[in-house]
Symmetry: C2
Subunit: 265 residues, 2 copies
Amino acid sequence: MAVPIGTEELAFRAAKELDICGIPSSEGARKIQSARRLAIERPQDLAPYIEHTALKPETTRQAVITLCEEAKRFGFRGVCVNPMFVEEAKRQLAGSMCIVVTAVGFPLGANLSDTKAQETKAVVSKGADEVDMVIPVGALKAGEYPAVFDHVKAVVRAAGGTVPVKVILETVLLDEYQKVLGCLLAERAGAAFVKTSTGFAFVRKSGTFASGGATVEDVSLMRKVVGDRIGIKAAGGITDFLTAREMVAAGADRIGCSASVAIVS
Amino acid sequence: MAVPIGTEELAFRAAKELDICGIPSSEGARKIQSARRLAIERPQDLAPYIEHTALKPETTRQAVITLCEEAKRFGFRGVCVNPMFVEEAKRQLAGSMCIVVTAVGFPLGANLSDTKAQETKAVVSKGADEVDMVIPVGALKAGEYPAVFDHVKAVVRAAGGTVPVKVILETVLLDEYQKVLGCLLAERAGAAFVKTSTGFAFVRKSGTFASGGATVEDVSLMRKVVGDRIGIKAAGGITDFLTAREMVAAGADRIGCSASVAIVS
């Protein structure tokens, strides 16, 4: 029987492989302040971790306005909306402590790095405070690491050094070694966070589909790989207080979810 | 009991509503030659209708190469791939009759119209022969018709008049009147096709998720609305010969599917 390989050993191998590919070990990541690790006792203690999220294609402007009102009322960290609603969210949240997060190259990550970079510039000019991007998953799976690095770097540069970038790995589509590589590539390219999932990856399970979102195991793995150097956002399928609390205990600095009001109530 | 309203009546009302919004009745749509309507007797008769499709985020370059080989071998109309693989597909299909189709603002349609336009220019420069785009679904549902029109027009203009644009309505998220409005908006903004679905819209059905793809009813409805003026592409969840043949009988000029080899075999 093969001896199972620990995360540290995987991270060591992955780092070596990236070195061999000529991927530089640091692009000067923009570090962000992790959420203060308060003990999560009551549901409302989670509010500062939550990005109140509405990314479905059918989301209307009115739904975004409601989302912003809820974010202010419950003291969420901010909202996460699609690019077409960044301007509206910024207007709604003016004068509050809530930030506006958006997603580029989302949710497939399979467009051109130039497009992701231009989209990043556009959303930053509309007022986005943070940008979540999706890696080219197929490139990571095929071992095209420089391509993955270039996509992240293009977005980090387009974000201009003041706007933190979160890198979505879409963990449900990756094996453990690919998750480790994804974390290291994100960090080396200057990401402020790695993020588990888009919430849009559906996997076929015994005839039907299941949403492939964040798992506690993935958050733990990611925390082991990136240490305290960058942040972690858990997103996708988090719908109740206990799950959200477990994610934070496992190392998540942010929780992306739509069921936020139910979670903190 | 309310008398049910026929499609013609809905289309008449929708056209009037768009007129009132000041949406011009024609942007000089780029008409494309519909597939010759041969009788579909044997599975292989469907090949000229098929866009052999691989749009999943985990698709690798090698999978795209295989997709292109199959498209040539089975005589499909072409392939449909994400922007990051347009260049590879173009290279693989050089010297063949197969076209390269790609998708922009895909699959949510909720990014900025400028981003969709820039992405369109980029994929055309990489060799895309046709561009499928997604409307801002939330804008259509909220009655923001000029915004929907502007998104389509921006992509049609960016495609430069020589590259046909297909407009994806994501019908599973729309009611009948919204489907009619979507067809008319696409046509008025210069689209060459309307297309049913992305294949990425999952709807919750009794606890699990189901893929919300093309239906024969939607294709019939769309054909009634656009007449023979523009083409129709049915996509999403088409996995067998009989379904594909029904779609063509209902008015589809193109079938977007991944199970293409099984369908024609």
